[in-house]
Structure formats: C-alpha cells, structure tokens
C-alpha cells in the first residue's frame, strides 16, 4: 500500500475532470424536472451525445464541432421524448426508459465503425496569471473550456431560475401546471423547451466523456453516468449549487477509488469499483430519510388542458 503515490494536485484536477460530464447532465435534468417533467432517458441521451460527439470530432478533427453536434443530436433525440409525453400524453417513466433503450441501441449502431479510434484532444485553456499560482494554478485554472463552461452553466441556471421572469414561469409550470395554464402560460411549450435544454446538456456531458475523459468510443461507455446524474438531482433537492456539490462529490469518489486501486490498498478491487454506485444509494437513503424533498409539485404528472 502506497498512499504517498497519490498527488493531491492531480487528484483535485482529475476530480474536476471526472465530475464535469455528470454535472452537465445533472444541471440539464434539473431544469427539466423544475418544469415538472421527469425524463429518465438521461443515460440514453448522454450515450448518444458521446458517440455523435466522438464521430464528428474524429471526422472533422475538431472537438469543438463534436460538442456542438453532440448537443444538437441529443436535444433532437430528447424532442421525441417531448412529443410522446407532452403531445401524446404518454407515461413519463415508461417513455424515459424507452429513450434510454433507444439511445443505447442507436449509439451502438452509430459507433461500430469508430471502435478503437482515438479522439483529437481537447485543448487546455491556461487562464493567464491565475494558472501561474503554484499548486492552485494547475489544480483549478488549467482545464479545458468545458470544465469552465459547466461551472458557468450552473451559475447561469441558478441566476435564471432565481432572478428572471423566464425562471419564474418555468417554476410555476413545474409547481402547478393547471394554475400556470389558467394564467395563460403555454405549459407544453415551456416544457418542450426545458426538455430540449436538458437533452442538449446531456449530450454535452456524454461528448465530454468520450472526448476528454476516456478518449475513445466503447459501447455502453456511460456505464450509468446518466442514472447517477438523476440521483444527483434528487440529492441536490433541485437546487443548482447543490447539483454542483453532488457532482463533485461523486467525481471525487470515482477518482479516489481509481487512485486507491492503483495504490494497491488492501481493499478488494471489486468493492472499490462498485463504490460509486453504493455511495449513490447511501446518499439517496440519507436524503430520503431526512424528509425535506423539495421536488416540484407537478413532477411526472401528465398535463392535459381540458382536464
């Protein structure tokens, strides 16, 4: 056992790296749930984003285009969920599961020719001055653009939900769609927009997984990241900054267990590799036991205007 081989600077930096995909997906899903829609298809949208982002980046040589394409592809895919649940009034749980199954199949189909290829690397952005600070610089200020973007997105979602009219309407629709409808807000349109946004975020998260973390495409590579994003939204009690904390906590656990595996700690490898999932369950228990949920009141309920 050699714990001294774990470098704290690299550890924090890799925690940020591993938390980013889940953070992106989770903040998107939080917005969807705030509008009163439970989209269980995050995993399917993430993996679709992962494969589309990877394919476009490999073909064009530009990771940036890969991210854009991934966001678009997953957002379009999420619209199928939107049409089913908002227009055709299908059960959200079943449709979300269906979306995951469709996404897994679709991604495996698209990805077949890309197995074994290596992605172009995402350039790191060294923030001037700040990245020169010893220890803190390489730890916090020399990441790729998506890490900063994900943090910006959390702040943006928080500000929009808290301070703007759009945020107020979104929350109203999520709390009571009947009241929002009576006030003349377009419930279905607001929800479709939220679903679209959530899809784009999940796509970005998936693409980040393929382009910045794993650097290649393998079938089923999201390995439950989308489901963990869903758990983080519950953990966060539907609050943006807590989503950030949850994602980084989870990133911390998954990086730490990899480091412990590498350091030959006297804990079975199997136990370490299942620890992220076990800890997610543990966190869910603690949150549920505490009682205060804060879930939007209309979450998962079908809205039908004529009653």
């Amino acid at each position: 056992m050699d714990l001294s081989s774990i470098n704290p600077v690299l550890l924090i930096a890799s925690i940020m790296l591993s938390a980013t995909p889940i953070l992106l997906a989770a903040i998107g899903e939080m917005v969807v749930e705030k509008s009163g829609v439970l989209n269980l298809g995050v995993e399917g949208m993430m993996i679709t984003g992962a494969v589309v982002g990877f394919a476009i980046a490999v073909n064009t040589g530009s990771p940036g285009l890969g991210f854009v394409a991934a966001a678009m592809a997953s957002a379009v895919l999420s619209l199928s969920f939107g049409i089913l649940t908002q227009v055709l009034l299908a059960n959200q749980v079943a449709t979300g599961l269906g979306l995951t199954l469709v996404g897994l199949g679709l991604s495996a189909l698209i990805g077949t020719p890309y197995v074994g290829l290596k992605s172009p690397s995402v350039p790191k952005v060294e923030i001037p001055l700040l990245s020169d600070i010893p220890v803190l610089g390489p730890m916090l200020f020399s990441h790729d653009l998506m890490v900063y973007f994900s943090l910006f997105l959390v702040a943006a979602v928080w500000a929009v939900l808290k301070f703007t009219r759009i945020g107020l309407i979104l929350r109203a629709v999520g709390e009571s769609h009947d009241a929002a409808h009576a006030l003349g807000y377009k419930v279905v349109r607001v929800r479709m927009a939220a679903i679209f946004f959530g899809g784009a975020c999940a796509g970005l998260g998936g693409a980040y997984l393929g382009l910045a973390r794993v650097l290649q495409w393998t079938e089923g590579m999201t390995a439950g990241a989308g489901w963990i994003a869903l758990a983080i939204v519950v953990f966060a009690s539907w609050r943006p900054w807590r989503v950030l904390i949850g994602a980084y906590l989870f990133g911390g656990v998954s990086v730490l267990q990899l480091n412990l595996q590498a350091a030959d700690v006297a804990v079975p490898v199997a136990l370490l590799s299942m620890s992220p999932y076990l800890i997610t369950i543990l966190v869910l228990i603690i949150i549920s036991a505490r009682g205060a949920h804060g879930a939007p009141a209309s979450l998962g309920r079908i809205f039908h205007a004529s009653g």
């Binding site: 269980l40 269906g98 897994l104 199949g105 519950v234 549920s288 004529s306």
Partner: protein, 358 residues
C-alpha cells in the same frame, strides 16, 4: 383544430390493437433504417419476422424461440405486477445476475455429487438470490421512501461488478486452466437444466414461465392481493382509505419480480448459457421491460409479447449472419417498438375530436 378528449375508461379495442400498430410502424421505420444502412429492407424484415418460423433452417430456430422467450416472459411477468401498482423495478438485470450467481454457487458447493436434490436446491437459491437483491430497494423504499428506480438500477452495476469478480475468482472452474468462468453445468447432469422435449427449446425455465403466467393471472384477477395491487396503482388514495398497506404492496411487488428474475437467471446459467461467465447475461432484464409494456401488463399478453421479442432476437441473429446487419440495429429496433407502442397508446386513453372547444 384537433383536440384530445379523455375516454371515461380505456378502450378495449385500442388496447388490443395498439401493439399490432406499433409492430407495423417499427417494421416501416426499421425497414427505412435498414435501407439507409445499405441493406435490402424487405429481406431484412423478412429475416427477422419470417425466417425463424418458416425459413429454411426453421427447425433449428423454432427451438431458439422458446429458449429466448422463457426468461423474457418470466422476468416480464414479475415486472408487470409492480408496474401495475406504480412500482418501477428497472433493476431486473441485477436480480437476474444475482439469482444466477447464488443458484450456481449453491450447486457448485456440492460438486461433484449427482444427488437429485441438487437442481431443486439451486432453483431455490436462485429465487432467493433475486429476491434478496430486490429486497434492497423494497426495504429502503418502505423504510426511508427512497426512489426504487434509482436504487434498483444502481444495484445492476453492483451486480455486474460482483459477476466479474466471482467469475474470475470465487466460482472459477478450478480445472479451467485459469480461464475465467465457472464449471460448465451442461456437463454435470445433476445441475443441468435439460431440454424437456428434444428440439423444442422447452426447458425448466420455460415451464416455470408458463406457471408464473397462470399464477399471475389468477392472483391479479381472482385474489384480493391482486386487487389491492391494481387498486394501489389506479387510485393510491382510495387504496389507502380502503386499508391497503402500501408497504406490503411494495414488498410483494418487488419481492415477486426479484424472485422471478432470479429464477430466470438460474435457468439461463444452468441451461442455454451453461456457465457463470462475465457476459452470460444478455440484457434480458432490460428487454423484459419492453415485453411487459408490449404485453399491456397482462399475463397472456406478455406471453405473446415475449414470443415476439424472442423472434426479433432470433431473427436478428439470422439477419446478422446472412445480411451482415449490425447487432446494435436489433437493439435499436426493440427500443423503437416500445417507443411506437407508447406513442400509439394515446388512442387507448383519448379520443381525437376535430372542431372547436367543447
């Protein structure tokens, strides 16, 4: 202006025909997808839906139908009961794996005995393994109100890790030259899940699935527990006022589906799969979700849906072999089937009306 008007009760006609419409739509869109992939669409669809039953090698493929349908039906029956109550066990894949591991471990502990009691013991342990794995989300939901969807799903990944660990560790074949994977049950008569009627694919798991279908039908339509489950799903507040114990419904639904999924895993590992290996599970736990919905959560519907889904598995293999259709295309094909079913379901619960406001 087209409006949707809620039907007072779901239309029986549409309930029955929406699965057929969904299959037709899937064939249409799937065929288009195959054409885009550069494969002849009509041949591909025929390979999936026709060749396994009437094609040149149908004598072999027909047996495969029951082999694939057995576990799908067994798992879907359990899931459907929970879905009726609004309890979403989507971790059947994990319960399936744990049932297989527990049952196989109980058997392997007795190796090389040829006692007739070994196979029944393995069946019991398989069911208990799946039951135990499903009790985790059930008890957490009862005790803390934890979301069973997320917990049961997380446990799938935990089960997969355990599977990887035991197949190269605890349960590895000591005479297997160091290769991962347990002893082969097909070569050990006392533990082999044999074909009951040669050439039909009928094994103990298929028999168990038919028993489960009848049991589920009787429970849902003739027994008070079945009524309580349906009531809890359709009108939770009415159920609570009528004195239905929500905790008991949760434990019953998750326990039942877990035990059936565990059984399916045990029958698979001692029969068609033959051994515990890192990838013996073929995603039946997830496909069974589609089967449950496609069968309208009705036991007899699930039998038909299970056979249909088995057809796409077997036909998918034929299409892979003859037309070099990628295996993932079939997975997508199955996902689309669920999507189209959910989309057409709007006709079951709503009427389309053309014209102004009511």
């Amino acid at each position: 202006m087209i409006r949707l008007e809620r039907r007072p009760s779901p239309s029986a006609l549409w309930t029955a025909i929406t699965p057929l419409i969904a299959v037709l739509l899937t064939m249409l869109v799937g065929g288009t997808m195959f054409a885009v992939l550069g494969k002849p669409p009509v041949q591909a669809i025929a390979a999936i839906f026709w060749d396994p039953i009437f094609g040149d090698f149908a004598f072999y493929y027909r047996g495969q139908l029951l082999v694939k349908a057995g576990p799908l039906i067994l798992i879907a029956i359990g899931l459907s009961i929970g879905f009726r109550a609004g309890i979403w066990n989507i971790g059947a894949e994990g319960q399936y794996i744990m049932g297989a591991i527990c049952g196989a471990a109980a058997g392997l502990a007795m190796y090389p005995s040829e006692s007739v009691l070994i196979f029944p013991l393995m069946i019991l342990c398989g069911a208990l393994g799946g039951l135990a794995w499903a009790m985790v989300p059930a008890i957490l939901k009862v005790r803390f109100g934890t979301n069973e969807i997320l917990v049961s799903l997380m446990l799938v990944y935990v089960a997969e890790t355990i599977l990887a660990s035991v197949s190269s560790g605890l349960l590895r074949n000591p005479e297997g030259m160091g290769f991962p994977g347990s002893r082969n049950f097909q070569q050990w008569d006392a533990a082999h899940n044999t074909e009951l009627i040669a050439g039909t694919g009928m094994h103990w798991g298929v028999a168990a699935s038919f028993i489960a279908v009848i049991f589920a039908y009787v429970m849902l339509s003739r027994h008070i527990q079945g009524f309580n489950i349906r009531l809890a799903g359709a009108a939770p507040r009415a159920a609570a006022l009528a004195g239905v114990s929500w905790s008991r419904v949760i434990l019953l639904c998750l326990g039942f589906s877990g035990a059936l999924a565990g059984l399916a895993g045990l029958f698979e590992v001692t029969g068609p799969a033959g051994q515990i290996s890192i990838d013996f599970n073929s995603g039946y736990g997830f496909t069974a979700i589609i089967v449950a919905f496609l069968g309208r959560l009705n036991p007899f519907g699930i039998v038909l849906a299970g056979l249909l889904m088995a057809l796409t598995y077997v036909g998918g293999e034929i299409a892979q072999l003859n037309l070099q259709l990628p295996g993932a295309a079939i997975q997508l094909f199955q996902g689309m089937l669920l999507f189209f079913l959910l989309a057409t379901d709007v006709f079951t619960n709503y009427r389309f009306r053309v014209g102004g406001a009511a």
